[in-house]
């Protein structure tokens, strides 16, 4: 009988240290759980086990740990959390890579830049608010049919495709040293929107129909909380699970803003 898999990893016990919080504004505390893991387990399957056995490592009964998840295949972004100090999706985080030996520890924390709803579950509203701020959509609402859309070349489509794979997970914001936690909704307008939003602005600026809103998007990104708050740390592009060329998007939108800014100066608008 063999319970080894993938490079000889065996079923074993792994310690999960989890940063817990009862709700918004409540203090947080650490709790540890000892979880028997099967080969090929991931963080979500271990969280499921903890939910069914909410007993800490020193035998104390506690509440089940709360987290958010949906697709379980790294396309929705809901399960994003900070694992061993770095932000990533928990559904695609394999225990065999993070804790190959008996007694290894994995640390789970909620994302650091968004308000905690409970335990590992955060509220990423501000990201979606940012998408609205830059009008990250193609405007087609109206009273009559607009007919066929413009043609796309395969090359252009290829370039834009990768930008469109963003799942608004917020990794790029959590790792950005220029993006700060802001619980007060009234201040979002003057706080940095972050790389994900800039990338979406570029995606729709380069869309045949979406480009009619380009001046408005650039105006929004020139104002307070716009792209000028970026400090070029380039963490965003490193942590993006979709390998979106975020710094390229930042530079491209900056170029558009440079041109847009000069045009505005000379047209007096």
């Amino acid at each position: 009988m063999s319970n080894t898999a993938r490079g000889g990893v065996r079923a074993r016990n792994v310690i999960f240290r989890i940063k817990r919080c009862e709700g918004p504004g409540k203090p947080s505390r650490w709790e540890a759980f000892k979880v028997p893991v099967e080969p090929n387990a991931n963080v979500i399957s271990c969280l499921n086990w903890i939910a069914a056995n909410p007993v800490t490592i020193d035998g104390r009964q506690t509440t089940p740990v709360v987290w958010d998840s949906n697709c379980l295949e790294e396309v929705c972004g809901a399960c994003t959390m900070v694992i061993n100090g770095r932000v990533r999706q928990s559904c695609s985080c394999l225990i065999d890579e993070y804790a190959p030996n008996e007694g290894d520890t994995i640390t789970l924390e909620p994302m650091s830049k968004f308000p905690v709803v409970r335990d590992l579950w955060v509220d990423r509203q501000r990201l979606f608010w940012g998408l609205r701020k830059v009008k990250a959509w193609v405007p087609i609402d109206g009273t009559y049919s607009l007919g066929e859309g413009p043609r796309e070349t395969p090359d252009h489509q290829h370039d834009r495709y990768v930008m469109s794979t963003c799942m608004s997970c917020g990794c790029c914001l959590d790792a950005c040293p220029q993006y700060h936690k802001e619980e007060d909704e009234g201040k979002w307008d003057r706080s940095f929107v972050g790389a994900a939003v800039v990338n979406q602005a570029r995606l729709f600026n380069e869309h045949g129909t979406g480009r009619v809103l380009k001046p408005e998007r650039l105006d929004a990104l020139m104002g307070p909380g716009g792209l000028d708050a970026c400090g070029k740390a380039e963490n965003c592009v490193k942590v993006c699970p979709k390998n979106i060329p975020l710094v390229e998007s930042i530079a491209a939108v900056n170029r558009a803003i440079t041109i847009h800014g000069f045009k505005r100066i000379f047209s007096g608008k």
Binding site: A175, P177, G223, D228, A251, N254
Partner: protein, 300 residues
């Protein structure tokens, strides 16, 4: 908080772009020229128009010539204020404000880009302190902050600089070691800051967009940084390790004498020697040393 941030927030785009621009021109461009001038203490050795017997003597001549040229420029104070002090104050103060708004996370995300981001801010702070000390001691006359109360004089550019860096008569002193080390750190920090700033400026303005273009621009910035670093280090090494204070002082006296006449030389020497705390003995001693080699060149 809101009121203090109001102005910066409303004009964020303009301020940020002006900050980036001033970093490159005029400040960065000036630093390039400044370090080229200063390193003439070394490359002056191959200056065909210099006549001193020793290579470093020719460096002293060349450097003196450059300094005299700059100090002979019309409206120097106005140019300095508009092209240097104002932009540096603007870039520096705004730079500190921006840098304070960073939440560094290199410990968690130790990527190269993140380290450069952190270093850009650290070298900004260091550079700010260094520039303040540098300008205050050598330009605004805060002699009491130098190792031996040396007042830098553009008539005796090399010898007074060596003394301001090392101490009395260009001899090593303990405060001199600290000041020289400070110069090494300050210059290195600012050169890094400039080179990395060139790299990030290409993102700020959207000049190099694609990954490949930014990589190529990065290599170029590294090259530029290495060359400027070499200029800065060689200037410092020249003044700190290679210059002979007394020889330099003699060459400078001779150049003043040839250009403005012996009366003028006596006058400025008297002025210098009577400054309180000046390294009078060292200068008197240097003035006794026989003149080394043929007469130096003088620009008209």
């Amino acid at each position: 908080m809101d009121n203090g941030q109001g102005f910066v927030q409303r004009n964020y785009f303009l301020l940020r772009r002006l900050h980036s621009l001033t970093g490159v021109v005029p400040i960065g461009a000036f630093m390039l020229i400044h370090l080229t001038t200063n390193s003439s203490i070394l490359w002056g050795a191959i200056n065909g128009r210099a006549h001193a017997a020793t290579p470093i003597g020719r460096g002293v001549e060349t450097f003196q010539d450059e300094v005299s040229f700059i100090n002979g420029m019309p409206l120097l104070l106005l140019i300095e204020a508009l092209v240097l002090w104002l932009p540096i104050a603007f870039h520096g103060i705004l730079g500190v404000v921006f840098a304070l708004g960073a939440s560094n996370n290199v410990a968690r995300y130790g990527y190269q880009g993140n380290k450069r981001y952190m270093l850009q801010r650290l070298t900004g702070y260091l550079g700010f302190a260094f520039i303040l000390y540098h300008v205050a001691t050598l330009r605004w006359g805060w002699e009491w902050l130098t190792p031996a109360n040396t007042a830098w004089s553009h008539y005796f550019a090399t010898s007074t600089l060596a003394a301001a860096l090392k101490g009395d008569g260009g001899q090593w002193t303990v405060p001199g070691i600290i000041v020289s080390l400070g110069y090494f750190i300050g210059v290195s920090a600012l050169v890094f800051h400039f080179a990395n700033g060139l790299l990030t400026a290409s993102i700020t303005w959207g000049i190099a967009v694609s990954q490949r273009a930014r990589q190529r621009w990065g290599y170029l910035c590294t090259g530029i940084g290495a060359v400027v670093m070499l200029l800065g280090w060689s200037a410092l090494a020249g003044f700190v390790f290679l210059v002979d204070h007394d020889e330099a002082h003699q060459i400078e006296r001779r150049m003043v004498e040839l250009k403005y006449g012996p009366e003028f030389l006596k006058e400025i020497e008297r002025e210098h020697l009577h400054r309180p705390g000046m390294e009078a003995a060292a200068i008197r001693r240097a003035a006794e040393v026989p003149y080394p080699g043929p007469a130096p060149v003088i620009r008209e």
